[in-house]
């Protein structure tokens, strides 16, 4: 078995030392694995992802996460897209971590990066929307843009927070297929937070449930 992409040992996660959200968190995730995290609202699922993403420090414990630039991809709950910009610009943002310094300084992405953006946009089926503003797109199309941005970024670990949101079952199915393709073809480890346990069980390799302050693996 390949070395884990993410390894968490005895971590305590939350905002207050005296009142942590999650304690004794132990987790190993391997390349190509899709992990689903379920649990009721406000229990700490998003905080777990933000801690892994490096946006919040853990209260204690060891987190061995990919540390190189661009190795972690993060799709926040509201997707984190730039609403005042078009699809092309948003997808290209995934390339920033891989682009040489001078290309980012002068906003001149190289041919290879532009090609990868074009392929990603084609793969998510938005070729005809490249110059459309994000605010003009439907919820499902915006999810596709966020996934295309991650495709261009090519992270080793992708964290997706409620990225299936309130999508209808047909659109959610299409997005799930894209996520599975991303994990298998690019060998990316994916942690996806969702509130629907039945849906998560259909496409995740493992499902973790947050109960109280503990995380446990469940068979759904």
């Amino acid at each position: 078995m390949p070395a884990p992409v993410l390894s968490i040992r005895q971590a305590v996660i939350g905002f207050e030392k005296d009142n942590p959200l999650l304690v004794d968190v132990n987790l190993d995730i391997h390349p190509g694995e899709i992990i689903g995290v379920i649990g009721r609202s406000g229990i700490g699922k998003s905080t777990l992802l933000r801690t892994i993403a490096g946006l919040l420090p853990p209260i204690s414990g060891d987190l061995d996460v990919p540390s190189a630039k661009g190795e972690i991809g993060y799709i926040p709950q509201r997707l984190g897209l730039i609403n005042h910009q078009n699809v092309g610009y948003n997808v290209m943002m995934g390339a920033l971590a891989r682009a040489p310094f001078w290309q980012t300084l002068f906003s001149l992405p190289g041919i290879e990066l532009r090609e990868s953006a074009r392929s990603a946009i084609e793969a998510v089926g938005l070729s005809d929307k490249v110059l459309d503003s994000i605010s003009q797109l439907s919820g499902g199309q915006q999810q596709r843009v966020a996934i295309a941005r991650s495709m261009v970024q090519q992270p080793t670990l992708l964290l997706a927070d409620e990225c299936l949101g309130e999508l209808d079952s047909e659109t959610a199915k299409e997005i799930i297929e894209l996520i599975q393709k991303l994990a298998k073809e690019n060998n990316i480890a994916i942690i996806i937070v969702d509130h629907n346990p039945v849906r998560v069980a259909t496409f995740c390799d493992r499902v973790l449930q947050v109960k109280g302050t503990h995380i446990e693996e469940v068979n759904v």
């Binding site: 630039k69 984190g80 730039i82 078009n86 920033l96 994000i134 964290l159």
Partner: protein
């Protein structure tokens, strides 16, 4: 008691009415020869052949617009990086605190006082006006811009930080485009403001139409010509306001109030040709 200390008396008010009557009689009708006659005593050299082009109103107005344009341009170039440094969501707290204090320092003095300082340093003329209004623009625009940057959603910034991007890339590629419509609107507002204010700083010798106004009100005591200049300034401000409104509409859909993705036209990061 207070009025006694300040020297305000009923006699003052009576005198004011008398003066207002004299001013009124000398102001009307306004003398629009300021738009047609060559002002041979202009502060800067006018090389146009047409007399109207070198008149107090037109030459002064063009100079005021030039001063306002340069001050807005230089002010914007300086305030953009400073506002990114001052925004709490983009910079470490020590840097944002220092930058905010610097911007507040620039706003302490109004542009009129800056103009006085620069007139003493560089002598009367448009250079003093450009420098004075640039400093004021940096202080004012910098504050408006860092507030706009702090108002952007945290989600795109978090996605960028998780990618491991340096602060300048988070600011340049995520925060700035998200706040771009507000920032463009503020720049246009500042340009309008600088044109209006350009006529004031001329009063202390810092160039523009205000210099002519000051001379008509003071040395020449030609209030009819001064009124004509004030009317010209008013008309110019109304026209510029309408042009500015039109430009702002290009960036904002009036029906849906949704911002249009126009930033790519300014910074061509991704164009149609490339896809």
């Amino acid at each position: 008691m207070i009025s006694n200390k300040l020297g305000i008396t009923i006699d003052n008010l009576g005198q004011a009415w008398e003066n207002a009557g004299i001013l009124w009689s000398e102001m009307f009708p306004p003398d629009f020869s300021v738009v047609t006659e060559r002002a041979s005593w202009s502060q800067t050299k006018c090389t146009w052949d047409a007399d109207w082009a070198c008149s107090a109103a037109i030459h002064g107005l063009v100079e005021t617009i030039e001063i306002a344009f340069l001050a807005t341009l230089f002010g914007m170039l300086l305030s953009l990086p400073l506002s990114m440094m001052a925004a709490h969501n983009l910079s470490p707290i020590w840097l944002s605190t220092i930058t905010r204090q610097f911007l507040a320092g620039l706003r302490v003095l109004p542009s009129l006082v800056w103009a006085l300082i620069f007139v003493i340093m560089f002598g009367p003329g448009p250079l003093a006006g450009v420098l004075a209004m640039t400093l004021y623009t940096v202080g004012y625009l910098g504050k408006l811009q860092y507030e706009a940057l702090e108002g952007v959603s945290r989600h795109p910034l978090e996605a960028a930080r998780a990618m491991g991007l340096p602060r300048w890339q988070v600011a340049r590629y995520f925060a700035l485009p998200e706040a771009s419509n507000a920032i463009l609107s503020q720049i246009l507002f500042m340009f309008e403001y600088n044109i209006r204010h350009g006529s004031v700083i001329g009063l202390v010798g810092a160039g523009g139409i205000g210099w002519y106004l000051n001379n008509y009100l003071g040395v020449f005591s030609r209030y009819d010509r001064a009124l004509a200049l004030i009317i010209v300034i008013y008309v110019a401000v109304v026209i510029i306001d309408q042009i500015s409104l039109g430009i702002r509409h290009r960036f904002m859909d009036s029906e849906t109030h949704a911002p249009r993705a126009r930033w790519r036209e300014i910074i061509p990061f991704f164009t149609k040709r490339e896809v």
